[in-house]
């Protein structure tokens, strides 16, 4: 498959691993955060971290949309799903995220009509096919996914579909990055930037990271060679004493992003003053809600929800994992009480979650060659 196979070449991978070895300074420890859950998944699926020297440490960021949904929002979704006549739609992994009293899958088992969709457009199609039912789409995701929700709502409005609404949980990537950079818990040397978020928002929103914090950020693709090359680019910047935003993923990411997508998003959404992130707490202006022009499609205005803030289970250390403070296997319940089949924490639910990536690809502990 074009755009895929050429980025998995083993020889080139070995050459890039050699470049990484040649670029690191012996005795210096490098901490690089991959922001995006998709990157975390690729790193462990392809064993990218096994090609790195011991002193290059990858830290997993908060970029898995499922992992940052707080339990209270799941409870609100489940309450809507139990409303009479409602068809509740969401992406697959969202169905397995635990609220305080079970998951959406549990709600489905109890009789609620919960359906998995691949796209919000599928949810709109279900609404058109079921004019006598109310269809609610539980929207999650970063700026990569928000355009598809926005486009769906534009089509719903244009086609005047009265039985379709959206519970919006879309989040934005820059505020949590800023929160992490301000955190005293964490010292990072650079960032592997989120390639598909950048496809939409472009590179400019990340320029504050080198400008204000002096850290390099390289926007990266999701194939193994993309990741290795982005690590080389970060290490070269550090070796040269530079910090810039660079774009490794030029075949997909234009510097200015997708202007049409940004325009549609600004029409349909507005920033929430505050939003709770699992493990990170409330972060100002870090999430989206429907704008006044689309309030008729806002499920939170159509239905009353508990709206209660629910604390995470005490045993769960997703917060520390999401901030990169601990590795997944350092959590007390990792792989024992918390597994993908019976997740306690959200990081174990989605394959893009750091804990599930470690669990599924066997990274329970490791020792590597010290350079």
């Amino acid at each position: 498959m074009k755009f895929v196979d050429e980025f998995r070449d083993a020889e080139l991978g070995r050459a890039l691993a050699g470049e990484i070895l040649a670029t690191v300074e012996p005795g210096r420890h490098y901490k690089v955060m991959e922001v995006c859950g998709g990157h975390t998944h690729s790193i462990y699926k392809y064993g990218v971290d096994d090609l790195l020297p011991e002193n290059v440490e990858l830290v997993h960021g908060p970029g898995c949309p499922v992992c940052v949904i707080p339990m209270g929002r799941v409870d609100d979704g489940i309450a809507i799903a139990h409303e009479p006549g409602v068809i509740f739609t969401c992406f697959g992994d969202m169905m397995r995220v635990p609220g305080s009293n079970g998951t959406l899958l549990d709600a489905k088992a109890q009789g609620a009509d919960v359906r998995m969709v691949y796209s919000p457009l599928d949810a709109l199609r279900i609404a058109k096919q079921n004019p006598g039912r109310q269809v609610v789409f539980f929207a999650i995701g970063f700026e990569t996914t928000a355009p598809s929700t926005a486009l769906t709502l534009k089509r719903a409005k244009a086609d005047a579909v009265p039985n379709f609404s959206c519970m919006c949980n879309h989040v934005t990537i820059v505020p949590p990055l800023r929160a992490l950079l301000e955190s005293p818990d964490l010292r990072l040397d650079g960032f592997i930037g989120p390639g598909h978020v950048a496809t939409v928002v472009g590179a400019r929103p990340f320029e504050f990271i080198p400008a204000a914090y002096g850290k390099p950020l390289v926007i990266a693709g999701f194939e193994p060679l993309d990741l290795l090359q982005s690590i080389v680019m970060i290490l070269r910047q550090l070796a040269a004493g530079r910090s810039d935003v660079e774009n490794q993923y030029k075949r997909v990411v234009p510097w200015e992003g997708n202007l049409r997508a940004l325009e549609v998003m600004s029409e349909v959404f507005e920033l929430r003053p505050h939003f709770e992130w699992r493990g990170l707490g409330f972060i100002s202006q870090s999430a989206l809600r429907l704008s006044d022009a689309y309030s008729d499609f806002d499920a939170e205005q159509r239905y009353s929800t508990p709206g209660v803030r629910v604390a995470d289970p005490k045993a769960c250390q997703c917060g520390e994992v999401l901030k990169g403070v601990i590795k997944p296997w350092e959590c007390k319940v990792f792989g024992t009480a918390c597994t993908p089949e019976h997740a306690i924490g959200t990081c174990m639910v989605s394959p893009e979650g750091a804990c599930a990536a470690y669990y599924n690809y066997g990274r329970f502990a490791r020792e590597r060659e010290v350079v």
Binding site: F3, V66, G92, S119, A261, E352
Partner: protein, 81 residues
């Protein structure tokens, strides 16, 4: 002995959730469904998918697009790694 989980509710192949994971799939446009205003696109698996292309402008058969949650979010241009 811990073993990998069998995926139960997954959007994508190999247990990878394409919609929840900020993932994008490279697909080739093969035609248009004029009634639904969607493009027909084929990915690595060979399956045909309906994709909204409103955000990347008009497309023609043979074009490559990056698809996320049923919507094309970028055109793919040829480039080296």
């Amino acid at each position: 002995m811990l073993r990998p989980a069998e995926p139960t509710t997954r959007c994508g192949p190999e247990g990878h959730c394409i919609t929840c994971g900020d993932d994008g799939v490279a697909m080739r446009v093969t035609g248009m469904d004029a009634r639904e205003d969607l493009a027909i696109c084929v990915g690595d698996s060979g399956d045909a998918n309906e994709v909204a292309v409103d955000l990347v402008g008009p497309v023609a058969a043979g074009d490559m697009v990056l698809v996320h949650a049923g919507v094309a979010i970028a055109r793919l241009e040829e480039a080296a790694a």
